[in-house]
Symmetry: D2
Subunit: 215 residues, 4 copies
C-alpha cells in the first residue's frame, strides 16, 4: 500500500474492533467510490469536529446545534456553548437518573423505550478511575445530585459483570452522603434469568439471583 | 460399514445431538477398545435396563436399588418397587417444590447448591402436552400438592423462553384451585440481567424486567 | 447421578469428543428409552466384541463374518480367522495402494468414489511410532509391498498438516529399498487450492504449491 | 443520534462488512477522539480523492504521485496522468501475468512473496460482466496481451469456487485467439489439498483433484 492509502488504513485501525486486514478492505473499497462520497466523508468528519461534543450535564455524545433549552432550574448556562442535550432539557424534573457506562448502552435503552428520565454516561471507565475524564464525570454526577431538587432515585445500570459491579460499588460510595441523608436511594437493575436463558446452562450467581428474586 | 458396526452406529444416532458422522467415529473408536470395555458397555446398558427408572414422586432419573426410605407421611408405598428417590425421602417435609423441565436442569441446580427442597421433573414437554407421559407427570404434580401437608410454595423454574413461559402458565392453570384456596403460592424465578450481561446487547424484555425488578 | 447411571456416563466419556455434560445427557435420554432399545444397545456391543476386528491385510475395521475370499496370490490364510476384508479380496491385483491415517479417511474416500484400489490404514499414529500397533501396521505395510507382484504405486494420503507430512516422510523412509530398487514409486496427493479457497485468505505454502502446480 | 453523527454513521455503513450497530460504535468512539484526529481523517479522505486511483495497466489501487517510470515498450503515455504503478513499470518485461479478482488477493500474493511478475486486477466482478468497469478491464487485458512482446503465460488466479471457475473460463474464452495462435499459454493454479486439510473432511472435487495431481 502507498502513503495516502496506508495513512487512511492506519486511521481506520483506531476504530473499535478494526484490525489491519479490515482497514485495508475499507481503503480498497473507497478507491472505487465516487469522488463525491470521499468528499462527503471528509465533510462529515469536519462536521463531527465542529458540532459533536458531550452534553455538559449527562456526557452523552450529541450535536451542539441541537442543544436543548437551557433550564434555569438546573442552573445551566443559557449560551450555546454550554447548552445541554434534549434529554437533559426534557427530563430536567425527572425523579430518576440512570447511570450508564457507554453511549451504546444509553442508546439501546432509549431505543427499546423501557425508561424515560435523566441519564448520566460514565464512559468506558477503567478502575481505579485514573483518567481525568472519569474524575470529571463522577464529580459532575455528584454535583448533579447535589444541585437537583427532584432526583430521588439513582439507577445503577452497569453491566452484570465483575467490572460493572465494581463500578456500581464505587458510584454508591461516592454518593454515600446523599443516601445516608435520605436525599436519594440507589437501586441496581434486577438480576436473574435473562430472556432466552436455560436452567441447564445457568451459572451459580444467575440461579442464585433468580431464586432470591423469585416472585 | 458392515452390519454389526452399522447397527451400533444407528443406535448411537438415537442419542441427543449425535449425527451419522459422529456415530461412525464412535463405532470406529470402539473397534480399537479392549474387549472388556465392550463387555462393560453391554453390562452397563443391561444394568440401566434393570435399575434405572424414574422416581414415582418427582420423576427424576435414578436407580431403584438406591431408593430412599418410604415415608408414611407422603403416603408412599413401602415396597422396593415404588420407593422414592433420596431427595424425595430427605426433603419430604420441605415447604417448597421446584418444577424443572429436564433432568439436566435439576442436576445443574443441585450441583450449584442454590436450592434445597423438593423437585418435580416435567420432562421435555411439547405443548399442548399430548403425550401420556406429560399427562401423568402433571396429574402426579397435582396429586402431590393435594396430598402434601407441608408444601406452601411451588417454584416454576422453567427456562426463560416462550416455551418455558407457556409451560409455566399451563402449570399455574392446573394448580389454580390450590392458589385460589390459599393452600399454596406459585412463584417464578426472577428475571433480569443474567451474570455476564451487557446493557448494550440486552433485549427489550430483559431490560424491562431488569428495570421493574430493580432494588 | 447414581452408580449404574454414573458408570455408563463414564463409559460414554471414552468416546471421541464426549465430555461429562454430554455423557450425562446421553444417560438421561436412555432412561426414557424402551427397555428393548437398551437391550439392543447391549446386544450390539456384544456383537461388536465378537465380530468387529481389523483386516489382517489393510487394518480397516470390518466384520469377521463378512470376510472376503482368501486369495492364494496374496499368501493369505484361507480360514475364517485370518480372512481379509472385501476390499483386499476384490482389489488384490490393484497396481496401487493408498495409505490412509484413519478409518474415517478411508470411508470418506470410498464414499466419494474417487479411488478404486487397495488401502492400508495406519491408525491415528503419534510420532515417533512408539505403540506396538503402529509398528505392526508399518511392518505389515512393508511386507505387503514385498510380497505383492502387482503393486507399483504407493499413494501417501496423509493429511496436509505438519503431522501428516511427518508420517508420510516416515513411511517413505520405511519403503526406501523398494523405491531405490525401482519396484514401486511413491506419490503424494496434490497440493494447492482446495475447493472453496479464496486467494485473499490463502497461506504461503498453499499459494506456493498452487503456483508451482499450476497447469 | 443527531444529524452529523447520523450522517457519518450512514457513510460508515458503506464500508464492506459494517452494519448500523458497528457504524454507531465508530461514531461514538470518534466523539472522544482529539479534534486533530478528526482533521487527519478528513485530510486522508481528501488525499485519497486526489491521489488514489487505479493503474491504467493493471487496475490495482495505487497513488498517482508514486507512479512508475513510463515504459516506451508497453506503449504507455509518459505524463503523470497516465503513468503506471511501480509493479507494472518494474516487471514490464515479465513473461508472466497473474490475473487476480481483488486488490486484497493481489496484496496477499505480494506479501507472501510467492510470485514476481505482472498482475491484472479484474475487480469483484459479477457474471455475466454487466458493468462497464468489468468490460473495460477485460478489454484492457486483451489489449495488454496483444501489445506485449514478452508475455508468454497468463496465470488465472481466481478463487477455487464456482464463481472463480466461471470467471476463469470467461477470461480463457476472451484470450482464445492468443492461445490458439500459440502466442500465450493459459494456466490455472494447482488444485488439491490446501495446507491444513484433513482427508476425513475433504469434499469430492478436492479429493479428486488431489488424486489426479498426485506426484
Amino acid at each position: 500500500m502507498h502513503d495516502a492509502l496506508k495513512k487512511l488504513s492506519l486511521l481506520f485501525e483506531r476504530l473499535p474492533g478494526i484490525g489491519p486486514r479490515q482497514a485495508r478492505r475499507f481503503v480498497y473499497s473507497l478507491v472505487d467510490e465516487k469522488p463525491e462520497i470521499l468528499e462527503e466523508f471528509a465533510g462529515a468528519f469536519l462536521e463531527m469536529k465542529k458540532l459533536a461534543r458531550r452534553c455538559p450535564e449527562c456526557f452523552r455524545a450529541f450535536e451542539g446545534k441541537e442543544a436543548g433549552l437551557p433550564t434555569g432550574q438546573a442552573g445551566l448556562p443559557t449560551g450555546q456553548a454550554g447548552a445541554v442535550c434534549v434529554a437533559c432539557a426534557t427530563h430536567a424534573d425527572s425523579p430518576a437518573i440512570l447511570i450508564a457506562e457507554k453511549d451504546v448502552d444509553l442508546e439501546n435503552i432509549e431505543k427499546l423505550g423501557v425508561y424515560s428520565g435523566l441519564f448520566h454516561v460514565l464512559g468506558e471507565i477503567a478502575l481505579p478511575f485514573q483518567s481525568e475524564t472519569d474524575k470529571v464525570r463522577l464529580k459532575e454526577l455528584h454535583d448533579r445530585i447535589k444541585r437537583s431538587k427532584t432526583i430521588k432515585e439513582v439507577i445503577l445500570a452497569t453491566s452484570a459483570t465483575n467490572e460493572g459491579d465494581a463500578v456500581a460499588a464505587y458510584v454508591e460510595k461516592i454518593l454515600e452522603n446523599f443516601t445516608e441523608s435520605g436525599k436519594i436511594k440507589i437501586t441496581r437493575l434486577g438480576r436473574g434469568l435473562s430472556t432466552g436463558s436455560y436452567l441447564e446452562f445457568s451459572d451459580r450467581s444467575t440461579l442464585d439471583n433468580a431464586l432470591k428474586n423469585r416472585k
